[in-house]
Amino acid sequence: MSALKSIFGKDVDTTSSTYLGKPTSRVDGPAKVTGGAKYAAEFNVPNLLYGYIVSSGAARGTIKSINTAEVEKVSGVVKVLTHENAPKTAYLDSSHRDQLASSGGAPFRPLYKAELEYSSQPVALVIADTFEAARYAASLVKVEYEVAPHETDLRANMGKAHPPTVTRTGYVSAPKKPRGNPEGAYDAAAHKVDVEYSQPIEFHMPMESYASTVAYGEDGKLTIYQKTQGVQNCQEYVCSVFGLSSSDVQVISPYMGGGFGSGLRPTYDIYLSVLAATALRRSVRVSMTRQQMFSFSHRPEAIQQFKLAANSDGMLDAVTHTAIEETSQNEEYLETVVNWSGLLYNCPNVMLSHQLVNLDLASPADMRAPGAVTGLYAYECAIDELAYEAKLDPLAFREKNYAEKDQNEGKLFSSKELREAYRQAAEKFGWSGRPLEPRSMKKGSDLIGWGMASGSWEASQGKAAAKLVLTPDGKLVVSSATSDIGTGTYTVMTMIAAEFSGVAIENVTFELGDSSMVYAPVEGGSWTVSSVGSAVKTVCQELRDRLFKLAGKVDGTPLGDTKIGDVTFANGAMHVTGNPVKNVTYAEALKAGKIDKLELDTTELPQLAKQATHALYSHSAVFAEVSVDEDLGTIHVTRVVSAIAGGRILNPKTARSQIMGAIVWGISMALEEEGMLDDKVGRFMNHNYAEYHIPVNADIHDIDVIFVPEHDEVVNPLGAKGLGEIGIVGVAAAVTNAIWHATGRRVRSLPVTLDKLL
């Protein structure tokens, strides 16, 4: 237990649970380290055809002609699909909107029309009997364009910025009216900051490219092995777009090689593979190349302006935050960017605004902590500037302005242990020794800087279902149509099921990633444990109720007339608490009830009435150390300590990994990632892993993750807030603030590449 204590701090009671809270290795670990785990492009069904995507070389205009004469001569080529011959799909835009689409948009349809929407969009699909033949033939497709002017430059088009005109599930509009009098407060304040921050387009870049393997059944039914974060979202989309019955389409995704949001919405590979499979009545696989991974979604570029002010006591007195982001011409992509600035610190005078500019690019998409990571990167840097203006330590400034309630909504937090997160992380980091002035620390010839920031993310819960099957051999199988995108879903659901069913963990299997399973929402937004986990908990509690009733039918039951509250369920058996010798095994209970297979399912809904009275958020306190070679501008992040207040931590082992990975993402965002658009051609030019930089092993040094105890009975039945997003929020700000502390330079555009320090 000592290892647990160090992870949890002192106060969390893990002894009352059998599995939850205990570090548990991934149940899918052996499959992943042996190559046994199968990803979408690895289901090698018989007589498979391969589709290779041809991408557009122009951003705007029309396709004048597509010459496929040479293509069709290539041995093995079966078909070339273009907008000219592709079978028609659903006419209405609404039929193409998936669960995550914003209202009113016209989602991109591949091979639909001659008019181009963005550079690198698919314009043809070459289908052949081998991957290599399709790839070769695709290189012979000749496309001629009538090129039209395009706009891809956000800054040049800021005059066209407009407030969102549509809505989207999960998007919280900026408050319409200002709180207090931000302009007046700013003018009167003692300490002011008026700054602009910008960040470039970033790409999700999961290691596995999108792929779709459609197995075409003899009965015309489609089994689609798909890289996705939402098998049911994909299934609904395919049925809606292609006019298919839900009983004829099954989407399967047992493993996913990273998502980070890119697979929340159906990607164009599934459209193309189903298009080809249904047209040819054959099994087809379509995979994107790494280059094509830059052609369908991204984190939007953002330009953010702040006017912040504090009074002479260092109390935050005015916040004006305007964020301008790009979106596509065909959809308004919405993420919550500015609202965080109205709730992270106490402030009486606040004005927030979020605007969009439509550009000739693919629609942006949710990318790890969408909105929050953008808004809080810039806000937490600007706050650091204000703290320095007020001559206050940045941590002291934050503690001074600590928000005890969400002023945007006027609600108390269901729980908020951010103060404790500050304390523990600062202590671990050694923050108290930090000189206030920049350029105060050196190691050898390198400048050393320390910076910090806070993060926040919403703790949400959606409707979800879980199903279980208990068999007389004592094995329990629980399932739900969710995903494991590396987050540890398989493992944590197995733990929850074991915990609440009383079946030993080695006898529990959790299944996911199949659209025919009971309902689960898309795997994103840090809400899978909260949503699916709560359903698993409930269905397992129902199982205990059933088993307890069945136990009454066992001859001479040792439970007698004991009430269920006095019964312990453990190791696949029931006994009167305190008397484990006499028990009824689950197998005996089933037998007594003459049940071969006990099946239960349940749908769990968020307790909205309870939740609506509170603000539900996770929080983080991030501290970073950088070392800067001032002559050459090179920056190394040598240490990060992050303390997370994320409710109950169910599996500390995978939880730690998730936060650690998110910190790597934050370092990456701070120093490396940038989609380099050539606005003259409207195209991303560094569209590969060699030139779109993400960190390598040598970039990453010490990362410390702390989970502070946080008890929450409002957020959901498990008290867990979700960890997928919170780990990245604030990291880029902490790193950027540390760079300032090292060098005295405020670099206000990401990434902070070495040239910006020369």
């Binding site: 070769y136 050459l632 003259k680 030019m685 060699a690 030139e691 930089h693 070495l754």
Partner: protein
């Protein structure tokens, strides 16, 4: 990726004959690390690929006049870790290890390293114009995303850089490239091997189409005690150089007897300026004396929208490299385990 025929050469003569016969549509393949990449990008569209990996050119052996001969087919990894290379040509070991990844270095050969194509974004993207790929089509890099492009010796036709690390050290060491062709063998001094873009950016070196590199000769070097390779890049490893410097010093006490400085990441070829290097001769090895040398090296540099910083960065990297070289060659383990820019 085009379909091509495949031949496995059994001898150098056979390889040269096959390349001759292919009439410009043949490509040698050894490590494949650059060619297969370019095949998949449709930048290279050969009709024939000639596998030269079975030729007996993988040895590293003593060369003439106290030098070392590196076989063209010795891998980058075997070369970098070869004890004689490490002992006598430490800057070369370090340059190789600063490049690519361990996997790629296990595959890539010395000959192939010399023939690497540029990493300019527009060269790699066949949807874009590029004078190097399609002469006369234009150079969008000049007014486009040119962070990775050059600042020295560029032309209005092309501003691409040579991406190799190894070649920067070879240029500083004044290696000699041994080649074999239908007319027999010849040698090419390293400085004459790669070319500047001028009006013919499609031409990158002085190797004839039917010639093959058989070896690289390293002359005896007095620089082993004071050799460094400083590479500045956008991440700590597995990234091409923004600027790199091979700096070799021959010192007498703190006085420079001779100096060699080669620059990477800044030009279409490894960049040297022997007349600038000569400025150091007879001077003490101090920062004050290094600064004007760095300035002179970049005197004629021209920056573009996204890479103008390379001029200042390059100067600073030169000074840093010379300072480190003065201190002495670092242990290989230090270099191997650390970011090379430190």
């Amino acid at each position: 990726m085009i379909n091509f025929s495949y031949t496995r050469a059994g001898s150098v003569a056979e390889a040269v004959g096959a390349k001759s016969k292919a009439n410009g549509a043949g490509r040698f393949i050894a490590g494949g690390t650059n060619l297969v990449d370019l095949l998949k990008e449709n930048v290279e569209r050969p009709r024939q690929v000639i596998d030269i990996t079975r030729l007996p050119l993988a040895t590293i052996e003593e060369g003439p006049n106290g030098g070392l001969r590196l076989g063209a087919l010795a891998t980058n990894a075997d070369t970098a870790y070869h004890p004689e290379v490490q002992r006598r040509y430490p800057a070369l070991s370090r340059a190789i290890l600063a490049g690519a990844s361990a996997q790629l270095r296990n595959m890539a050969t010395n000959g192939g390293n010399l023939l690497q194509r540029t990493r300019c974004y527009y060269f790699y993207d066949v949807a874009m114009a590029c004078n190097k790929r399609r002469p006369g089509s234009g150079c969008p890099a000049i007014s486009g995303q040119n962070r990775v492009c050059g600042v020295l010796g560029t032309s209005d036709q092309c501003i691409a850089t040579h991406p190799s690390d190894m070649c920067i050290a070879l240029a500083a060491l004044e290696a000699v490239v041994r080649v074999s062709g239908p007319q027999g063998e010849r040698t090419i001094p390293f400085a004459e091997f790669h070319t500047l873009p001028g009006d013919t950016p499609q031409i990158e070196n002085t190797l004839a189409p039917d010639e093959i590199i058989t070896a690289i000769d390293l002359p005896e070097s007095p620089y082993a005690e004071h050799s460094v390779y400083t590479k500045v890049r956008d991440r700590a490893s597995y990234a091409f150089a923004l600027v790199s410097v091979a700096a070799l010093l021959e010192l007498d006490g703190d006085m420079v007897k001779s100096a060699r400085i080669a620059l990477g990441g800044v030009a279409h070829k490894p960049w040297r300026s022997p007349e600038v290097e000569a400025l150091l001769t007879g001077k003490t090895a101090t920062k004050e004396n290094f600064l004007p040398v760095a300035a002179a090296l970049f005197h004629d540099a021209r920056g573009y929208e996204h890479n103008a910083f390379k001029i200042e960065l390059g100067k600073r990297a030169v000074v840093r490299a010379l300072q480190l070289a003065t201190k002495g060659t670092a242990s290989i383990r230090d270099v191997n385990g650390q970011t090379a820019d430190a």
